[in-house]
């Protein structure tokens, strides 16, 4: 059996008619995938029929000759060099297909940016450059095509190189090479060129062969976003396995690890695999399953790292994003952000600049991000997210935005800005690290009690009936064998806060949060209302009780006073029994009332 070969996914992008098809055809022809003279034959047919040569015609011609054994289709083209196999992923140049271009390019490891020597740098040359940068493609070669149409003139070439190099530098791309070619004649594609002997750089093929296969993610700090936690309990298997992909770094059995943003600490007991020898170490790229020495509470969206090099945590992200949705992205609308395996509701908190990606001119007065725009904005997320700056660790620093049901945009995190709960989160983190634990873990407690600890917070204006609902909810939960407790803020205020000044808001909220945290640590289902602590403080309480989650029930519909993304909305003065039924149903749906 021959040795399996490396495969590299590449994408060729460029403005419409800058000669992408011809270059693809030439690559195929010169690497022996196409038969001799095949490309010229198809081009001649096109000329005869008076139409511009297009990639599609080549495909048609190839399809008709499938007995040649060429693996080719509309979206991917295969060719090979002595060094490795290549897959060219289709990335349409037309702006209408930008989302297909982005989809294709996001899968590529390297890119060829194509420019027509006669037309020079065009709108899409710039847009594509910017998008490639945001998609994280660092291995780029720029090819200036159709040099035959400008008499192989070095001056024309140099001018394009200067202009495009400057633009790409602005968006953070430093091309490995610029190459003057004529795809039609094959100059500098697979072999050198006599007419452009002045070019002393590589051909397109040797430039591609020069790209590195592994960008060395294994040497970065460890990041394993948790995909899921499994306990199958089938066929005698009682392992509790934390599953996720090593996006960066290496993980070894015996490593002390921390999960962000919950700050739970444990040690890797084993790396689990099916039908293979059990490994002791796995590195970036691997989809792993780990068991931990201590049964801590871990959930999807947490990021496992080493204790000495953790991701950032925050709710305010300064990002660069591109928008592909039909509807513009507006500050008054709530979206879903998906970042590694975490997700949260989010909004635009501030628009710094909306750019026309094709010339990088800021459009200062834009108040929304329209289709094909690129923007520099601050996103506010409802849940704190563990995140890295994309410049440092790409996989945990990029995200997509979901509008309704579809991915409508994507981007990279440039900065994590402090938010109001920033300080409290740091305090909670220190507390979590130093916390003295008994022998019973929260998971064991949850298994014994039959449900995990959690908190239900009722919000709404005075007089909408929150308190009556809270009382009825506690009663119902206890009646149905849950360890529930109605923690009225006033009771904390009367005792725990007796030494605090009435106007020491920060102190009152902090102590309330700490008391809730104790109850949750004891495995209780805490029911409370915002009667004493204000609605605005719920973020602080959430930060204090993390990783336990607050389930917010807003009584009073979607008015101004509704918190960002309540989990459930009830109309004012809903009868307590009906309200309780709705809350319990939703808690059930989210798996909060039974241990799993």
């Amino acid at each position: 059996m021959t040795q399996p070969r490396d495969t590299m996914n590449i994408v060729i992008v460029g403005h419409v008619d800058h000669g992408k098809s011809t270059l693809v055809g030439r690559l195929l022809a010169d690497t022996g995938v196409l038969g001799d003279g095949k490309l010229e034959k198809v081009q001649a047919t096109c000329r005869r029929q008076g139409k511009e040569f297009e990639y599609a015609f080549l495909l048609d011609a190839l399809e008709a000759e499938q007995d040649q054994g060429i693996t080719i289709d509309a979206a991917r083209v295969f060719f090979r060099t002595d060094k490795r196999d290549y897959i060219i992923i289709d990335a349409p140049g037309h702006i209408e297909f930008l989302k297909n271009m982005v989809t294709g390019a996001a899968r590529a490891e390297a890119a060829v940016l194509l420019i027509d020597a006669k037309e020079g740098v065009r709108e899409n040359s710039r847009r594509h450059g910017y998008l490639l940068s945001m998609l994280g493609i660092r291995q780029v070669v720029v090819v200036v095509n159709k040099m035959d149409l400008v008499g192989h003139d070095r001056g024309v070439y140099d001018q394009i190189v200067t202009e495009y190099r400057a633009f790409l530098a602005e968006v953070g791309i430093e091309p490995r090479h610029f190459i003057p070619i004529s795809a039609r004649d094959g100059d500098h594609v697979a072999k050198g060129s006599e007419t452009m002997a002045w070019h002393d750089g590589p051909t397109v093929l040797s430039a591609l062969d020069g790209f590195a296969k592994q960008p060395g993610r294994a040497d970065l700090p460890l990041r394993v976003p948790v995909q899921d936690v499994y306990k199958f309990n089938a066929r005698g298997d009682d392992r509790r396995i934390v599953a996720g992909r090593v996006e960066a770094g290496r993980v070894k059995v015996g490593d002390k690890v921390v999960f962000s943003p919950s700050n739970k600490v444990s040690t890797v007991a084993s790396l689990e695999v099916f039908s293979a020898a059990t490994p002791t170490e796995k590195e970036a790229g691997a989809s792993v399953g780990v068991t931990l020495t201590e049964q801590i509470f871990v959930e999807r969206g947490d990021v496992m790292s080493h204790v000495d090099d953790q991701p950032l945590v925050g709710t305010r992200l300064r990002v660069n994003l591109f928008w592909l949705g039909r509807e513009a992205m507006r500050p008054d609308k709530t979206y879903k952000i998906k970042l590694h395996t975490a997700h949260s509701e989010c909004r635009i908190a501030k628009i710094h600049r909306v750019l026309d990606a094709s010339d990088l001119d800021a459009t200062a007065d834009k108040t929304s991000v329209e289709r094909h725009d690129v923007a520099d904005v601050v996103l506010a997320t409802r849940q704190p997210l563990a995140v890295d700056l994309a410049a440092e660790i790409e996989a945990t620093g990029r995200f997509v935005i979901v509008d309704d049901y579809d991915i409508a945009g994507g981007g990279i995190v440039r900065e994590v800005l402090p938010d109001e709960a920033h300080q409290v989160r740091l305090e909670a983190k220190i507390r979590e690290f130093e916390w003295v634990r008994g022998d019973i873990r929260s998971q064991q407690r949850a298994e014994r009690f039959g449900h995990p600890a959690s908190m239900v917070m009722l919000t709404g204006e005075a007089g909408v009936g929150k308190h009556a609902i809270a009382r009825a909810l506690e009663a119902e939960l206890v009646e149905t064998s849950h360890h529930a407790y109605l923690l009225d803020g006033k009771n904390v205020f009367l005792g725990v806060d007796a030494d605090l000044a009435f106007d020491d808001r920060g102190g009152l909220v902090r102590r309330f949060g700490e008391v809730v945290h104790l109850f949750l640590d004891a495995g209780t289902l805490v029911v409370s209302t915002t009667n004493v602590i204000g609605l605005a403080d719920h973020r602080t309480v959430q930060a204090l009780i993390s990783p336990f989650k607050m389930f917010i029930v807003h009584v009073g519909g979607t008015d101004e006073s509704a918190p960002d993304g309540a989990d459930l909305h009830l109309s004012p003065n809903t009868a307590p029994s009906r309200a309780v039924a709705q809350i319990v149903a939703e808690l059930h749906r989210r798996g909060r009332l039974r241990t799993h």
Binding site: M1, T2, P4, R5, D6, T7, E63, Q66, D67, Q68, G69, T71, D73, A74, A75, R76, K99, N100, V102, T103, A106, L135, G136, K213, Q227, D228, Y230, F232, A234, R235, D237, R239, I241, A243, R245, E272, V273, F274, S275, G285, A286, S287, G289, R300, L324, K336, K338, A395, R398, F399, V400, V402, D404, Y405, D406, I407, G410
Partner: protein, 286 residues
């Protein structure tokens, strides 16, 4: 084996994403090599378990040993087997002589659509190894499929997570973008998502993986003395054997490296017209 490792890790990642997001999830198992590799990947992703049902559409024209092989693996691996069939069309005598596309559409596409959405009865293998009509008629919202991009033209346009509308139809021209490892996991009620963990695999990758993992593939793929074997399996009536003396996975790999004949050349329905497969897929064919 760097490339097979990459494909495997990505496949596992996709499986776990799908399982997390779709409560009503199933996997289509055609008994062929691709979906059997897919089944193996599922066991890797879930540490030996397959925590969702496997759906097989039985046209009744399958090579008989396929059914025996299916039920044997189901018992050995503890699989939840669900079988669907277009009983009415079969009762009315549907077969390939009424037109291959007509037959495929009725016995595969229609049967699949109605089995997935729960509008037709599903047979489930019980602890006794027999099939019984199933109570659960809930629609599957996430369907794992073993389609590969290199099989034929229409499949190359697929995404890893590919939405289907209320009728199970596929809008090829207007698909959502798919970035990095963020997939379409949000969907409107009544629609479902097809998930393709093997999208980037080639036919040779499949065989190399079968060889590496020693996956117990059905023996129809091997020459058992007649100098013929199946390269692609399906209904006995519409799938031709090829001339080949390959008796092992290794011999198949060697043969594939030399061949110029497309994989599905033996599948008669593909030859019916140029856009046959794209048409079938738009209607919800796997």
């Amino acid at each position: 084996m760097a490339q097979l490792d990459d494909l495997e890790e990505q496949g596992i990642y996709i499986f776990r994403e799908a399982y997390r997001h779709f409560k009503q999830m199933c996997m289509l198992w055609s008994i062929g090599k691709d979906s059997t590799v897919l089944l193996w990947l599922a066991r890797k992703a879930f540490f030996g378990h397959v925590p969702f049902p496997l759906v097989h559409i039985d046209t009744s024209y399958k090579v008989p040993s396929m059914i025996a092989y299916r039920d044997r693996l189901a018992r050995e691996w503890g699989l939840t087997m669900v079988v669907g069939q277009n009983r009415q069309a079969l009762a009315e005598g549907m077969n390939h002589e009424k037109g291959r596309l007509v037959c495929c559409r009725a016995l595969k596409t229609e049967a699949l659509r109605h089995t997935l959405d729960g509008s037709w009865p599903r047979l489930r293998m019980g602890a006794d190894g027999q099939y019984h009509e199933e109570e659960n008629r809930e629609a599957f919202t996430g369907v794992i499929v073993g389609a590969r991009a290199d099989e034929e033209g229409s499949r190359s346009k697929e995404r890893y997570f590919s939405p289907r509308d209320h009728h199970g139809d596929w809008d090829v021209a207007d698909q959502p973008p798919e970035l990095w490892n963020q997939f379409k996991t949000d969907f409107a009620p009544g629609t479902h998502v097809r998930i393709h963990p093997l999208l980037d695999w080639t036919e040779i990758n499949i065989w190399e993986y079968i060889e590496r993992e020693q996956i117990p593939i059905i023996d129809l793929y091997f020459d058992r003395g007649s100098g013929k074997r199946y390269r692609s399996i399906g209904c006995e009536t519409c799938t031709a054997m090829i001339d080949s003396t390959a008796k092992s996975t290794q011999e198949i790999i060697v043969e594939l490296r030399r061949t110029n004949v497309p994989e599905r050349a033996g599948r008669a329905q593909d030859q019916e017209d140029t856009y046959a497969m794209e048409k079938l897929r738009r209607d919800g064919y796997m």
